[in-house]
Symmetry: C2
Subunit: 187 residues, 2 copies
């Protein structure tokens, strides 16, 4: 087998999600993921340190989308409106054709506390990146961090709704709605 | 050595925090924690499944304080005001004499991503308990969950400020302030 495998990461991710859905996260081994993907364990460990990491691929792209959204918001946008722009920007990463995949991933995460903790850690890192992007626009603390936290709550709530449903409404719509609801609750 | 050890949990927690501060979390073993506490590894595993759990003792008391605060809030309190009462209630668990302990714990958690993830998971479970307590008061969704999430952001921010500082201001003051700032940011 050659060293380079076309779409190795995509194959590992799909194989892992199938196996997690069939047997649960705990019962699935890296050997099984590699076999299902038609690749070797050695190739697996070239991309990931453990089976948890397979589910957190694309994390950098996610944080980058949030940061770009804030950078590209109008200069006079209020902090929470810049955060709303960040959510729209991240929504573009999750078009309708990613709904089935996102739903399987969310179920694996909700079924396993260690995965849920990892997810929260990754989202907290994304919130920190948003806060930094707000400070780079001149937003002072504590407003920068708090606006980023509000955005992350809206994103989490919307993501849970999107993956619980059948995908009829877009993630972007649901995030915009969740942020408006959060602001109304805080008022 | 007898089976019962006075204040075994308190001794394990203090020993673990000392060792985490001295050598870091990763480099500290359960054997070392037990030795420092003057107890056996066997006794350690009677209380905890692993060394991470030592830092998350008292989690039930924490969630219970939040829930009681919501239950005891005036019947006509707005959801976010019931959450403010929950924060005051949890503040009573952290009097000034717990500041040094809380600071050491917070530093151990901030220095280790896996501990940070566990902390976020525990806080998410407490937010879910608050949301349930709000629903029990007749607060509808999504307001119940969103008000609980707002409270948890305020609690996290205030806890970071309390443990970063010298303890001059109380945790309760800092939580009340953080919730007010969050509401102003959302407005």
């Amino acid at each position: 087998m050659g060293r380079w495998q076309p779409d190795a990461q995509g194959r590992f991710v799909r194989a892992a999600l199938e196996l997690f859905a069939e047997h649960g996260f705990e019962a699935t081994t890296v050997a099984e993921i590699a076999a299902r993907a038609g690749l070797t364990e050695r190739t697996f460990f070239r991309y990931y340190t453990d089976k948890r990491e397979v589910l957190f691929d694309g994390q950098d792209m996610f944080a980058d989308a949030l940061v770009s959204g804030i950078r590209e918001a109008p200069a006079d946008a209020a902090p929470v409106d810049a955060v709303a722009a960040a959510l729209v920007s991240v929504g573009e990463l999750f078009p309708p054709e990613r709904h089935a995949f996102a739903r399987t991933r969310q179920r694996a995460i909700e079924a396993n506390p260690a995965l849920g903790e990892r997810e929260l850690g990754k989202l907290a890192a994304s919130a920190a990146a948003m806060a930094q992007a707000l400070r780079d626009r001149g937003v002072a603390e504590p407003t920068a961090s708090l606006a980023a936290e509000l955005g992350m709550v809206a994103l989490r709530v919307a993501f849970a709704r999107w993956t619980a449903g059948d995908g009829e409404r877009t993630l972007t719509e649901l995030m915009t709605e969740a942020l408006a609801e959060l602001r109304a609750t805080a008022a």
